[in-house]
């Protein structure tokens, strides 16, 4: 029942990787199971929840909605790629400080979607932030802490770049 595997090369968090992937294998599985990047979470399999969100060539993508082979020659950024030299990204710091999480399971996806939002380099209203987070589900926080975290991370970034833990 196993399928012929296809050689797939892409970059993850700046590092080139090469995998032999069954065509049906989801990008999420390739990241989690084949590359051990377990920060990308699987919570629904049906592209409802956004816990598996990563950046593909700079765009936020739910990695359960894309095949691993489709990542060929693309650049992927996962939650593991945000902290640099032990320094948390301002978003990560903001999520801690503004109680953007409880159980932490939706958190990597929330942060990656928020990262894409910040990459747009413009200010969003609260309503816009909520709308952009509407593809990411959180069952614990009621979302307010997450919206506050996104806003606070912008403040942190204005002050300086990353910050130490």
């Amino acid at each position: 029942m196993t399928m012929r595997k296809v050689k797939t090369s892409f970059k993850v968090n700046g590092k080139p990787v090469e995998l032999e992937l069954e065509p049906r294998r989801l990008l999420m599985s390739a990241l989690r199971e084949d590359l051990g990047l377990t920060g990308t979470h699987n919570a629904c399999d049906t592209t409802n929840c956004g816990a598996c969100t990563v950046l593909v060539d700079g765009k936020a993508v739910k990695s359960c909605t894309m095949l691993g082979v489709q990542a060929n020659s693309k650049e992927i950024l996962t939650i593991e790629g945000l902290a640099k030299d032990g320094n948390l990204h301002p978003l990560q710091k903001a999520f801690i400080e503004k109680q953007g999480l409880q159980c932490g399971f939706c958190t990597p996806g929330m942060i990656m979607t928020s990262y894409w939002m910040l990459s747009q380099n413009r200010d969003f209203s609260d309503e816009e932030i909520k709308r952009m987070l509407s593809g990411n589900l959180c069952r614990c926080t009621g979302y307010r802490g997450i919206v506050e975290s996104v806003k606070y991370s912008k403040d942190l970034m204005r002050k300086k770049g990353g910050d130490t833990e």
Binding site: T40, C44, A51
Partner: protein, 671 residues
């Protein structure tokens, strides 16, 4: 449970992140029918391999039941809900395990399912060997002669089933080395899982260790023992290889234990001034296909809380739990408390309308000025001082006038019974802690560090709260029922004081230096035989558009937490619980068709609230210390109790339609 600083890096270790060498993945073949005779099952592990029934453990365990209605691990002669486990297949890869489900062949003869409480009461028994579909039934409170009352009101209400849907699905790894079994699991209660596995599979408990993996939310659904856990464990022992099972979201929606699913008939007797003198009630719980889940006990728990914060002198309630062809009912955040509050507070609003009184007035007149024990067994402290102040703080009168606000009063009965355990180890200048209850998003490490610092002066950065582990504690209970800061906190204080005595005995006096230079272990089990509760009041305002779509504008709440051990988390818990309360009223419901097939098959259908559903929050924390050594009171479930009550009343006032159930659908609100 990893701390937030790891979780934001994606560096948590949830059970699906754990990979053991030579591990098998399990997939479960499930019943496509709500009710059928099983004619044959071929392929995988199935009924011919294991005849056991699911045993007890955790919050979801409803106690001993008639064996004829127990949940079989694998379906035997019949299947009784869509999603019931029938067979299990295994492979080195999870994609291949799912492929192998095609190898399972089961033949069924379909039977007409029982899908409602009424059908359960009038229909023939689901299970051979039982006389009816009633699992449990009991009268609460002494009967009384109906008083001659100027006001007698009667009505019927219902709360639909809701799937818990923590973002992390259920899952475990069972690993057997030929002698010892180690289970890594996403759970609220390692000891419940251990007891359940041990009793179901008749294992030697000294050879079983259950370790909690980081747990991505639960809301009650991860305390019970499930058939899948037993199957994975059985398979690990049979194949002598580690077995991992992670459910899909569709499996969670179909076959985990949902909460709610309760109906209530209420009748009150009152004076013209609004004082309620007597209460009659009937509580009916749709417990699903088998006895033994929390559904077997929840009607009693709901029934005993029906008088809430009010001093109602006479009350008599019939509490009944029935079986239907749906998955067994379990606890969902609040677990009976929200249902009791919904039934009671709906009646108080009916009474206010009947007498033309304000909602706060009719409630306040029924609050108590001293401690009160209700005829149903609920013990409360004087409730009037809290609610009088809360009504003012919430600016109810003003908002009732200007924005047609709804109001709800409630009691949160914290599940302190059974107590909790704690262990503190000091070694090489580091402090390691274990609790019998297992955090899954509540940051228990914050109150543990704070209390150890207060009791023993231990700096917070040398303390680690480890994940739940039956190998590290003799016994323990679990995290549910708004209990952990209260009873876990009390156990920590007690273990810390014991540790202090140990140091004093060895060194002559206690200093931090004396503590940290030695090696110590202090373990306690703090039992609690008290009723401990807290009060809360919620106000809500809504707007309704021309399509009947409701938007909650504001949710304001006043919550007594006893002592705010972790203020940021308290606020976050209130906001999260508020959204869940709104979800219950506006969006969330488990829907089956008449054949028993599940219609709410993904997270959108299930109605999980999204960021855009967030109202404005106003939160007021009251600290009225409890008698516990750490002064805490329960909180976690509070908003899910109070919010639906207030939101429903606000919808009622804005729409002019009487609301008797949740969820409220837009079409009901249109002219």
């Amino acid at each position: 449970m990893s701390e937030s600083k790891l979780l934001v890096r994606g560096a948590g270790k949830y059970v699906d992140d754990i990979k053991l060498p030579n591990m098998l993945y399990m997939a479960i073949a499930r019943s496509p029918h709500a009710r059928a005779r099983v004619l044959s099952v071929k392929g995988g592990l199935n009924q011919s391999d294991l005849k056991a029934v699911v045993g007890g453990g955790g919050e979801g365990w409803g106690g001993p039941i008639n064996p004829a209605s127990a949940h079989p691990v694998f379906a035997q002669d019949t299947v009784n809900y869509v999603g019931q486990p029938v067979a299990a297949v295994f492979a080195d890869d999870r994609y291949v395990a799912e492929d192998k489900l095609d190898e399972v062949e089961a033949e069924y003869e379909k039977l007409k399912p029982i899908m409602t409480i009424d059908e359960a009461l009038s229909g023939s028994p689901l299970h051979a060997g039982t006389k009816s579909n009633i699992i449990t039934q009991r009268w609460l409170g002494p009967d009384f002669e109906d008083p001659e009352s100027p006001v007698v009101l009667e009505d019927e209400f219902s709360v639909a089933r809701i799937v818990n849907n923590p973002l992390e699905p259920r899952g475990l790894i069972a690993d057997y080395d030929g002698s010892k079994l180690t289970v890594y699991i996403s759970t609220q209660a390692v000891f419940g899982i251990k007891d359940g596995l041990t009793s179901t599979l008749k294992l030697d408990e000294s050879k079983v260790r259950v370790i909690q993996a980081d747990t991505g939310g639960a809301f009650g659904v991860k305390s019970a023992l499930y058939p899948e856990y037993v199957i994975a464990t059985y398979a690990a022992m049979k194949y002598k290889r580690p077995v991992k099972w992670i459910e899909s979201r569709s499996e969670h929606l179909a076959a985990s234990q949902p909460g709610r699913g309760v109906r209530g008939k209420m009748k009150l007797f009152a004076n013209k001034d609004g004082k309620v003198t007597a209460w009659r009630g009937e509580v009916l719980v749709d417990a699903g296909a088998f006895g033994g889940s929390a559904g077997s006990m929840s009607p009693f728990f709901i029934g005993m809380q029906l008088t809430g914060p009010y001093g109602i002198e006479k009350a008599h309630v019939l509490a009944t739990s029935v079986m239907t062809n749906k998955p067994p009912q379990g606890p969902y955040r609040g677990a009976g408390r929200p249902e009791a509050a919904f039934f009671r507070e709906r009646m108080m609003d009916l009474l206010a309308d009947e007498l033309g009184m304000e909602a706060d007035e009719v409630r306040l007149i029924n609050t108590t000025t001293e401690n009160f024990k209700s005829p149903l067994g609920l013990e409360i402290e004087a409730s009037r001082p809290f609610f009088k102040q809360a009504t003012l703080d919430l600016r109810y009168r003003e908002k009732a006038q200007s924005e047609k606000a709804g109001l709800g009063f409630f009691v949160l009965l914290s599940a302190v019974w059974g107590g909790e355990s704690a262990r503190i180890d000091v070694q090489e200048g580091k402090v390691n802690v274990w609790l019998g209850g297992n955090q899954h998003g509540q940051e228990h490490y914050v109150f543990v560090k704070k209390l150890l610092n207060e009791e023993l002066g231990i700096p917070q950065d040398i303390v680690t709260l480890n994940n739940g582990d039956t190998g590290m504690l003799k016994d323990g209970v679990g995290t549910w029922g708004s209990r952990s800061a209260v009873v876990g906190g009390a156990a920590i204080v007690s273990a810390a004081r014991k540790l202090k005595t140990q140091v004093e005995n060895k060194e002559g006096n206690y200093t931090l230096e004396n503590l940290l230079k030695g090696n110590y272990t202090s373990e306690v089990f703090e039992n609690q035989n008290v009723q401990l509760n807290s009060f809360g009041a919620v106000l809500a305002t809504v707007k309704i558009d021309k399509f009947g779509m409701v938007t909650v504008k504001e949710c304001a709440g006043c919550y007594d937490v006893g002592r705010a051990l972790n203020p940021k988390m308290i606020e976050s818990q209130i906001i999260g619980g508020t959204i869940q309360g709104i979800g219950q009223v506006l969006y969330e419901e488990v829907v089956h068709d008449a054949e028993g097939k599940l219609l709410t098959k993904n997270l959108f259908d299930a109605g999980l609230p999204i960021a855009e559903n967030m109202p404005k929050f106003t939160i007021q924390i009251v600290e009225h210390p409890s008698k516990m050594p750490n002064h805490a009171r329960g909180l976690g479930e509070a908003p899910t109790i109070g919010v639906p009550v207030a939101v429903v009343r606000a919808i009622e006032r804005a729409s002019g339609k009487r609301i008797r159930h949740t969820p409220v659908k837009p079409q009901e609100l249109l002219e």
